[in-house]
């Protein structure tokens, strides 16, 4: 039986930011991979290099060293073009800011798919409406300015926009951080539904270990640009090896740690 190729492989990725004579290594030789249908959580405190890592994967930043393979193909600067872009979509931290303020909900959701010309003009509208319904938004909101929607509605719209491109990998960069707890639960619920129904692969970036454990199969803990621990969610939560992971877990309420592996809570 041929060996299954991971959907995303990151090898020895490095990024250093320079400001005058000062240098700051944001990402320091990190490697990980994500299988198709899997959800990897990249966890760590603010400034540990999580967002820099995903920005490099999403072609928003150029790496200094290292390689990124998507679906077995190496993503060099030249390859980071439309064919890969369609299959790799991103959901951002601040849902309202991720939409052009002039767009309505429908226009905002159609944005990516329109650009990739996935659908014919007439089909695109119908597909966007269907997707808006799928993520749980009412049809009456279609012509509302997208930024006038609530945070949760906006994040659902951002997920619908990404889904309309039929991606293989969805990167969620602190996608739940700006939302209140009940809305966070709704978004996580939606993501778990996507994982189950569409076998969606997720790269879930968060500083919230407890929340990540409710959706992630694997967790990688980052500290000062390095991955200090990587393993299955259960392994990392119940048998953390690295002192930093242990410290992170201590900051999460004991009751929460016990309940987070019970995924039925959401």
């Amino acid at each position: 039986m041929p060996k299954k190729i991971p959907l995303l492989t990151v090898n020895h990725l490095q990024k250093t930011f320079r400001e005058g004579k000062k240098e700051r290594r944001a990402v320091d030789d990190i490697s990980f991979s994500i299988e198709e249908g899997e959800c990897l959580g990249l966890i760590g405190e603010s400034g540990c290099g999580k967002s820099t890592t995903v920005n490099m994967i999403a072609r928003l930043l150029k790496e200094d060293a290292g390689e990124i393979y998507f679906n077995g193909k190496k993503m060099t600067q030249g390859h980071r073009l439309r064919p890969v872009g369609r299959e790799l979509q991103m959901v951002f931290q601040n849902p309202k800011d991720s939409f052009n303020p002039r767009y309505t909900l429908l226009e905002g959701v159609m944005e990516g798919a329109r650009h990739y010309r996935i659908y014919e003009k007439k089909e695109l509208k119908a597909a966007a409406k269907k997707m808006i319904g799928y993520v749980g938004l009412k049809e009456s909101l279609l012509d509302m300015p997208v930024r006038s929607l609530s945070g949760g509605e906006c994040q659902r719209a951002a997920i619908a926009r990404a889904l309309l491109c039929s991606p293989k990998l969805m990167i969620c960069d602190e996608a739940t951080s700006a939302l209140d707890v009940s809305v966070q639960a709704q978004i996580i619920h939606l993501m778990r539904r996507l994982k189950k129904e569409k076998q969606m692969t997720f790269l879930f970036i968060s500083h919230d270990l407890a929340l990540s454990a409710t959706i992630c199969d694997k967790i990688a803990v980052m500290k000062k640009g390095k991955i200090v621990e990587c393993g299955s969610a259960e392994e990392v939560l119940h048998h953390p090896r690295d002192p930093y992971t242990q410290l992170l877990l201590k900051s999460v309420l004991y009751a929460e740690v016990n309940s987070i592996t019970d995924r039925s809570v959401l």
């Binding site: 999403a58 979509q89 991720s98 939409f99 052009n100 002039r102 944005e111 491109c165």
Partner: protein, 273 residues
């Protein structure tokens, strides 16, 4: 239920729109509205006071003042509109490219903008128009050269504010090219502010065209233009102030209408963005 996002357009804005249409209509249909030939001299009618046949009287050369004001509106308003259109187009392009790409492109372009803004605008415009000679096209060219930097600076700073917003990142993840991002994401978001700035700029441009004409660098005689009419009337300031006040009032009223229009337009567009 969510409230509709559409706001009512204020009445005052509609009134100003009507006044602008009237002004432009007057300028366009000047040949139909003018009671006399604006360039026909009749020395026997020199400095004629307002009467039934000549509602605003005649100038020193015996030309109908009303006809000259109506024809002058064409030059004053349309040359100002042309300048504002050209400088806002060029300035926006330069500013958006400079602000969006940053780096060396921005360094070079922003230095050019700073150099242009370091010159006193009117003195430079006088120098350029003076070197190029009398003529409305030279006036337009001179004012375009000195005015584009202001629009470039504004659009540059607006673009820099938008460039780092998440929706630009999202557009890049969605595979949009730089060109597409500029056209579809940046320009629609900077345009409302630039339109307001341009509409406010029309008033000052009318006055700058008039000022150059007043200095004798605008239109060629005998073409009617409000600034040039004031210049012709200044010799009679002591005896017949009407020759200066009438074109002056035309400039003042037009400038006020465009200024108020720009102000209201800002309110209307701000409410919508």
């Amino acid at each position: 239920m969510k409230k509709s996002h559409k706001k009512k357009i204020p009445k005052s804005f509609l009134i100003l729109c009507i006044l602008i249409v009237l002004l432009l209509g007057t300028a366009i249909f000047a040949p139909l509205l003018a009671p006399h030939d604006p360039n026909k001299t009749e020395l026997s009618l020199s400095l004629l006071k307002p009467c039934k046949e000549y509602p605003l009287g005649c100038d020193a050369m015996g030309r109908c003042m009303l006809s000259r004001i109506l024809y002058g509106a064409r030059v004053s308003i349309f040359s100002s509109l042309a300048i504002v259109f050209i400088v806002s187009f060029i300035g926006t392009l330069i500013g958006v490219f400079s602000g969006y790409f940053g780096g060396i492109t921005d360094k070079i372009l922003s230095k050019c903008i700073s150099i242009m803004q370091a010159f006193p605008k009117m003195i430079l415009a006088i120098a350029i128009a003076g070197v190029m000679g009398i003529g409305i096209e030279n006036t337009i060219f001179a004012l375009c050269i000195v005015e584009w930097a202001e629009y470039a600076r504004l659009s540059r700073s607006l673009t820099m504010g938008i460039r780092n917003q998440t929706f630009i990142k999202a557009a890049r993840v969605c595979g949009e090219s730089h060109f597409s991002i500029i056209i579809r994401q940046i320009i629609p978001n900077v345009i409302p502010t630039l339109i307001v700035n341009a509409s406010l700029g029309i008033a000052s441009m009318i006055m700058e065209v008039a000022a150059l004409s007043y200095l004798g660098l605008g239109v060629r005689s005998p073409m009617a233009e409000w600034g040039a009419m004031m210049n012709a009337g200044r010799n009679y300031l002591q005896t017949d102030t009407r020759l200066v006040i009438i074109p002056g009032a035309a400039i003042f009223l037009t400038a006020v209408i465009f200024n108020l229009f720009g102000d209201k337009l800002r309110d209307v567009l701000d409410g919508r963005v």
